[in-house]
């Protein structure tokens, strides 16, 4: 456990060293949020009604999905794993008494933790301002955070598996881009899933993408009952199990076909 803790603390230090990445991500997502807010504002201005969402609810939805996104996507795990296999630097791991997946999970968790610390500092003012609202829905918020964590694990396992695809097709770039495109639609990042046609929602219910963004937000924004949380958490855990199996299978099959030269 101590070796993974070392990886965790080293990655936190590296993240703190390269701060520009986080600052530019926050500014970029902020800019994209402003544009989306204006887009929806121009639609609401004409007196249109968008599902069950008011304009402020929709803007809050986008703001929170962007913030969660910045934490969840922080590791770029698919690319990191894929490149290490593609370029042969993976060979170094084979000689170390360390689990390849846990090593990357510790690093991804560290980057996410660092970002949570920064966001907590940035978000302190809104937290104080909305304190009464937070207290009133504290139970829902805690359950949402649990779902977000499960969504984080699912996201990690999906893109870790995509990275492992480099064992078989040489590069993880193609499957990574493909998966990310699908994720954008079915996670609710692009638009809340319940605003899309019914069949899209049905498909999303059977896929593992919605647990990181749409489900946690639906839980507290739409004041869903506890049974909703239990249902979503159960399915998320099943997906984690499935993805763990897939990643293990890909890793051991891939290891047999892996070849590299050099030191």
């Amino acid at each position: 456990m101590k070796k993974y803790w070392l990886i965790f603390s080293n990655t936190v230090q590296t993240s703190a060293q390269y701060r520009v990445s986080l600052v530019s991500s926050i500014i970029g997502e902020g800019m994209s949020l402003v544009v989306l807010a204006y887009l929806w504002y121009s639609i609401y201005q004409q007196g249109n009604k968008i599902g069950t969402y008011s304009l402020s609810a929709l803007v809050i939805y986008y703001a929170i999905t962007r913030a969660i996104g910045l934490i969840i996507y922080s590791g770029d795990i698919g690319r990191t794993v894929g490149r290490s296999i593609e370029l042969g630097s993976f060979s170094a791991f084979l000689l170390q008494p360390i689990n390849f997946m846990f090593r990357h999970f510790a690093a991804t968790l560290a980057t996410a933790s660092y970002r949570i610390i920064i966001f907590s500092a940035v978000g302190l003012l809104p937290i104080i301002y909305y304190w009464h609202f937070i207290i009133a829905r504290l139970d829902k918020i805690i359950l949402s955070l649990l779902l977000i964590f499960l969504g984080f694990v699912i996201y990690f396992l999906m893109f870790y598996s995509v990275g492992l695809a480099a064992f078989f097709i040489g590069s993880s770039m193609g499957p990574g881009l493909f998966l990310y495109s699908v994720y954008n639609v079915f996670s609710g990042r692009l638009i809340p899933i319940d605003l899309l046609p019914g069949y899209v929602k049905t498909i999303a219910d059977w896929l593992p993408f919605k647990y990181s963004l749409f489900s946690p937000l639906a839980l507290w924004q739409q004041a869903q009952p506890l049974s909703f949380f239990l249902h979503e958490a159960l399915f998320a855990l099943v997906w984690i199990g499935v993805l763990l199996l897939v990643s293990k299978l890909l890793y051991y099959r891939g290891l047999k076909s892996y070849e590299a030269f050099g030191n």
Partner: protein
């Protein structure tokens, strides 16, 4: 004397085109070493483009027009952005090569060659799979433009102006990206800056008339000139000649290009190598 200068200019352009061709060909060969991944990347890009269109379709499911833009007109803005974005990836790889060279301290390999370092650093990471963006955008344009009911002459004039404005848009996006990438000379972590460029510029997919606030509109026309990337070319294609817009777009493109060049050279003076 003048003739000699013109000849020299064209020779230089020819040389640039040859180098660009070689860079793109070698990148295509590199990408094709993993054919299945290349194929999946192209499919992923097509999917991304399709999702953008689906997103617009979903939005227009709630309204008939957004800030005066009807669905088919908004799709022209989307297609225009896709074309510029496609060219940015397919010819200069969105300047990823610049960030990589700065981060790894490998810019020397470009500095010692008898060709402009900015040009070489720009074209060395072209992504050939991104021609798929241009193809999708052209398909979209061919689907939507007939809905504008332009006469043949109108289509010819508007189309020619549209191409000029797309080039101006490309120049703006290139210059903006170069300025942001050049910040890497000070921060080293130039890869992270990508998020800023990506999130900011993809906003150009939407008609910038949605910005009802005057200050925001000025911001997106001058400091981050999103307006001139896709909205202005689309407006000229739809409504025809508009001197004010065309001249503004060309001026902004020129100013940004000169500014980015100056900034690149300033950043280069701070560059410290880490390779041999």
């Amino acid at each position: 004397m003048k003739l000699l200068a013109i000849k020299r200019f064209f020779r230089k352009i020819k040389r640039i085109m040859i180098i660009l061709g070689i860079a793109m060909r070698s990148r295509l060969m590199y990408r094709l070493t993993h054919r299945f991944s290349f194929f999946l990347t192209v499919v992923g890009i097509f999917l991304q483009m399709a999702i953008t269109v689906v997103f617009f379709k979903a939005i227009y499911g709630f309204t008939v027009q957004i800030s005066g833009w009807q669905y088919h007109e908004a799709l022209i803005v989307v297609a225009s952005y896709m074309i510029i974005e496609g060219f940015m990836w397919a010819t200069v790889g969105y300047l990823n090569g610049v960030s990589e060279a700065i981060f790894e301290g490998k810019l020397d390999q470009f500095l010692v060659k008898p060709i402009d370092a900015q040009f070489l650093a720009s074209v060395n990471r072209a992504d050939p799979e991104d021609w798929a963006r241009v193809v999708t955008a052209l398909y979209l344009l061919f689907q939507v433009v007939p809905m504008l009911h332009l006469t043949l002459l109108q289509a010819f004039i508007n189309g020619a102006l549209y191409l000029v404005l797309l080039f101006a848009g490309f120049s703006i996006i290139y210059s903006f990206a170069l300025i942001i990438r050049s910040i890497g000379f000070w921060t080293t972590d130039a890869f992270g800056i990508w998020a800023l460029i990506d999130n900011t510029l993809t906003a150009a997919r939407f008609p910038t008339d949605i910005f009802s606030n005057k200050a925001v509109r000025i911001f997106f026309s001058t400091i981050v000139p999103l307006t001139f990337l896709a909205t202005v070319p689309a407006k000229v294609l739809i409504h025809g000649l508009n001197f004010q817009l065309i001249i503004s777009a060309i001026l902004v493109a020129l100013v940004f290009f000169l500014l980015s060049r100056k900034f690149w050279l300033f950043g280069l003076s701070r560059y410290t190598s880490s390779s041999s």
